[in-house]
């Protein structure tokens, strides 16, 4: 079936009273942005839902994109036919015939918004249903639990038929809830945390700490790859790569071994907060999960958190590792996350890290460092990379 339109429904958005058009407009922008590679596509707002005219673009590929856009509750491919009973009947029949898998039961649901249309909705249901039954085998009507719902929407501009409801990923359109800096290590948890943050409409910018030569170029590439996967849900993502080698070296030289991780994390927090202020973000998102490792005990969180003013969002804080891994697989980051390159958190792991650090002790040990200067220096030397989903990493010109 060659579909020509798509109806997009959004759940939660419709509930927001005064902000609604703001939310809707953001969703329309995000959809247009995601579909910009298909010329000719039009996105229109009609009351309570969106209407996409494909104008020749292939439905399956467009559907794959829509399934990545936050704020979409569900969508249906639609076939438009003229206000003519025979055309409606024929199209309805071929939609059923081409359904794969072929249904055992079906039901027709007509909505006649265009009242001048001569047949009333109940009558339409019977006319279409009878036509389908006459021309197919092994198919029954079930008005309570049909396997296929054939929706017929009669409007003044035409009749719209659909027989499939595909669920979207829900959430809120990215861009309606402000911006947060996501600390992106390259592990399994932080991309999931970023995805969950985006799901609530937050724009994220990634912050990655790079400790060359202690961490490799591959580790950095891995983070770029992860940001690229996340950018499928966001359009594009700004990634800040912060050089941490000097700071880590100084911590190793001047602070007690058991506190190296705690102090390093505090430095990262400070740098991220600076970057947030510079880029207009109002929160920091991390992939911390309570009690997963030594730096994620309640005491550690307190000690690390105490150096920043901005709220720290921890979307996976209460999730089990297995749950996080499942979600990572679902959003497509798992395979990349498990590539075996060391990140800045796994090098220089002390033999016995402190599990119950205190902010006071940490502050005391940090006196050996010139904290503010080091933070400022790292911020100044931060490299910025824009990552986009379809961006072709064509570094070399062999295939041009």
């Amino acid at each position: 079936m060659e579909f020509d339109h798509i109806i997009v429904r959004y759940g939660e958005l419709a509930l927001k009273k005064k902000n609604r058009s703001f939310f809707e407009n953001q969703l329309v922008r995000n959809i247009r942005d995601s579909l910009r590679t298909f010329p000719g596509i039009e996105v229109k707002k009609i009351y309570g839902r969106l209407f996409i005219s494909l104008n020749g673009a292939p439905y399956p590929e467009v559907a794959d994109r829509l399934q990545l856009i936050f704020g979409i509750m569900s969508f249906s491919p639609v076939k438009k036919v003229p206000l003519d009973i025979e055309a409606i009947k024929e199209t309805a029949l071929s939609m059923v015939q081409q359904a794969d898998p072929f249904p055992l039961t079906f039901k027709v649901e007509t909505n006649r918004a265009h009242k001048p249309f001569p047949h009333r909705s109940m009558e339409m249901n019977q006319l279409i249903g009878a036509h389908i039954l006459r021309n197919t085998n092994d198919l029954k009507v079930d008005v309570h639990h049909p396997q296929m719902r054939l929706k017929v929407d009669i409007r003044s501009e035409g009749v719209f038929l659909s027989n499939e409801d595909r669920p979207g990923i829900g959430g809120l359109p990215v861009g309606v809830s402000g911006k947060a800096m996501l600390m992106l290590s390259g592990g399994i948890d932080s991309p999931v945390a970023g995805w969950l943050t985006m799901k609530r409409g937050v724009t994220i910018e990634g912050v990655h700490f790079h400790s060359y030569p202690y961490t490799s170029e591959q580790a950095k590439q891995k983070v770029i790859d992860l940001a690229r996967i996340l950018s499928r849900y966001a359009g594009k993502i700004k990634l800040h790569i912060v050089p941490l080698t000097e700071i880590q070296t100084l911590i190793r030289q001047h602070c007690p071994e058991s506190y190296t991780i705690t102090i390093m994390r505090r430095m990262m927090m400070r740098i991220t907060e600076q970057l947030a202020r510079k880029n207009g973000a109002l929160a920091i998102a991390t992939g911390e999960s309570l009690a997963q490792v030594a730096s994620q005990t309640m005491e550690s969180m307190n000690t690390i958190n105490s150096v920043v003013q901005l709220p720290v969002i921890r979307p996976v804080v209460a999730m089990d590792k297995v749950e996080i891994m499942d979600l990572a697989r679902k959003i497509g980051t798992y395979e990349t996350s498990i590539q075996p390159y060391e990140d800045c958190c796994t090098i220089f792991v002390p033999r016995s890290p402190v599990t119950r650090p205190t902010p006071e002790k940490a502050a005391h040990y940090e006196k050996a460092l010139q904290v503010e200067e080091l933070v400022q220096d790292a911020v100044n030397r931060t490299e910025i990379i824009w990552v986009e989903p379809d961006q072709q990493d064509d570094e070399f010109d062999f295939f041009n």
């Binding site: 591959q218 072709q392 990493d393 064509d394 070399f396 062999f398 295939f399």
Partner: protein, 382 residues
């Protein structure tokens, strides 16, 4: 020189050779090495994979670079069979496959698998109905070539794919060697799980090929070691060959429609002239369902080899059948399977074009060919 043996091997494009030269000299490090030279090579390797994936609208992880279609076919067939043998031990293929598919299946029989070799009609085509009838509860793999290498016959891949979409447990492998670059290849739409390509069939380098392995499919590897190519094919990646292969892949993909048109013209012209000759029997499908670059025909009473050598003296190069088996003095297994009698099969000749060839080459061929035939007939008294 008139070279009409492009189904055996094509001449590499200059752009391909240039890319290979550059890759071999500037990216010589091992892609698995950790240092920046290795990293540079790895990036080029992954970029090659991405370019290939874009061509087939698939994921980079679904592309396995191999040494050619023989390896791809061996890996696909034996790799699937050995990996999934606890689901069943029955494989379906056709009687007109390339030797690398056929012999892989023969090996599976030695290992206790059962193989159904589907019959082909007079034009070398298998029927979807026969595939359907051959399916059993323990069938795990169906392997059918896209375009027959001897006759040019296009197999009903789309229809078979549609049939197999209803059988989740059965994997579908397509040997697409002779189809790519000439005909469309719709991997997702046709429900293809695995397909094989060979670089030197479309102006890429020899020793290069590809096996597409749909995400989620596991294979029992034929080559184990360092775990390269997702563990499916160990061995240090042949980067220059891969780069040349992908370069040729991209060039052919971009030119496919034009190539089809040009080849079709050559094909029609050749068929038209051939049809007017007496004592010539065209074995390829003439009207519909044939790839545009292969024509197979027999000259009654004359052994193919004799004609080949006679044409060679005039600097014209054609072949008997699949180059991979043509040195054996037996008529082609595939042609016999299509119901050709032994004499017709023994006298079968194959001409195959490439898109940059000109009409005048065909004209020149037909200036020479009838004379050669006439002369041979006199000498051999047929």
């Amino acid at each position: 020189m008139i070279y009409f043996d492009n189904s055996a091997t094509t001449r590499p494009y200059p752009e391909v050779l240039e890319a290979m030269d550059r890759a071999a000299t500037q990216f010589f490090a091992n892609p698995s090495s950790l240092h920046s030279q290795g990293e540079k090579a790895r990036k080029l390797l992954e970029q090659s994979r991405q370019v290939a994936a874009r061509i087939f609208s698939c994921k980079p992880g679904e592309i396995v670079f191999t040494s050619g279609a023989t390896e791809s076919n061996n890996l696909a067939i034996k790799g699937v069979a050995l990996q999934y043998q606890n689901r069943g031990k029955h494989v379906i293929t056709t009687s007109v496959e390339h030797a690398s598919v056929y012999e892989s299946c023969r090996q599976l029989e030695q290992l206790g698998f059962e193989v159904t070799y589907l019959p082909a009609d007079r034009e070398g085509r298998v029927s979807v109905e026969d595939v359907k009838k051959a399916i059993r509860n323990d069938t795990i793999l169906v392997s059918v070539m896209y375009v027959n290498n001897e006759l040019g016959t296009i197999q009903p891949i789309e229809e078979i794919g549609r049939l197999l979409a209803g059988h989740r447990k059965i994997l579908f492998h397509v040997d697409a060697v002779q189809g790519f670059g000439k005909l469309p290849l719709e991997v997702k739409k046709w429900n293809i799980d695995l397909f094989s390509l060979s670089g030197h069939k479309f102006h890429g380098p020899r020793g290069s090929g590809l096996l597409y392995v749909r995400a989620g499919i596991s294979l029992f590897p034929m080559l184990v070691g360092g775990g390269q190519e997702n563990g499916f094919r160990s061995g240090t990646e042949n980067l220059p060959a891969i780069v040349g292969f992908v370069k040729a892949l991209k060039m052919n993909h971009e030119m496919q429609t034009q190539q089809y048109e040009r080849l079709k013209k050559l094909h029609n012209s050749f068929i038209r002239r051939l049809s007017s000759m007496k004592d010539v029997q065209i074995n390829s499908p003439v009207a519909e369902g044939s790839a545009p670059h292969i024509i197979n025909f027999s000259v009654t009473g004359l052994k193919a080899e004799v004609i080949i050598h006679s044409l060679e003296e005039k600097d014209i190069y054609v072949s008997t059948r699949s180059a991979c088996s043509s040195r054996a003095d037996r008529p082609s297994r595939a042609l016999l399977a299509c119901g050709l009698d032994e004499m017709t099969a023994k006298s079968a000749l194959r001409v195959s074009f490439h898109p940059d060839q000109d009409e005048w080459e065909i004209e020149q061929f037909f200036d020479v060919f009838p004379q050669v035939i006439q002369h041979l007939k006199q000498v051999m008294r047929v």
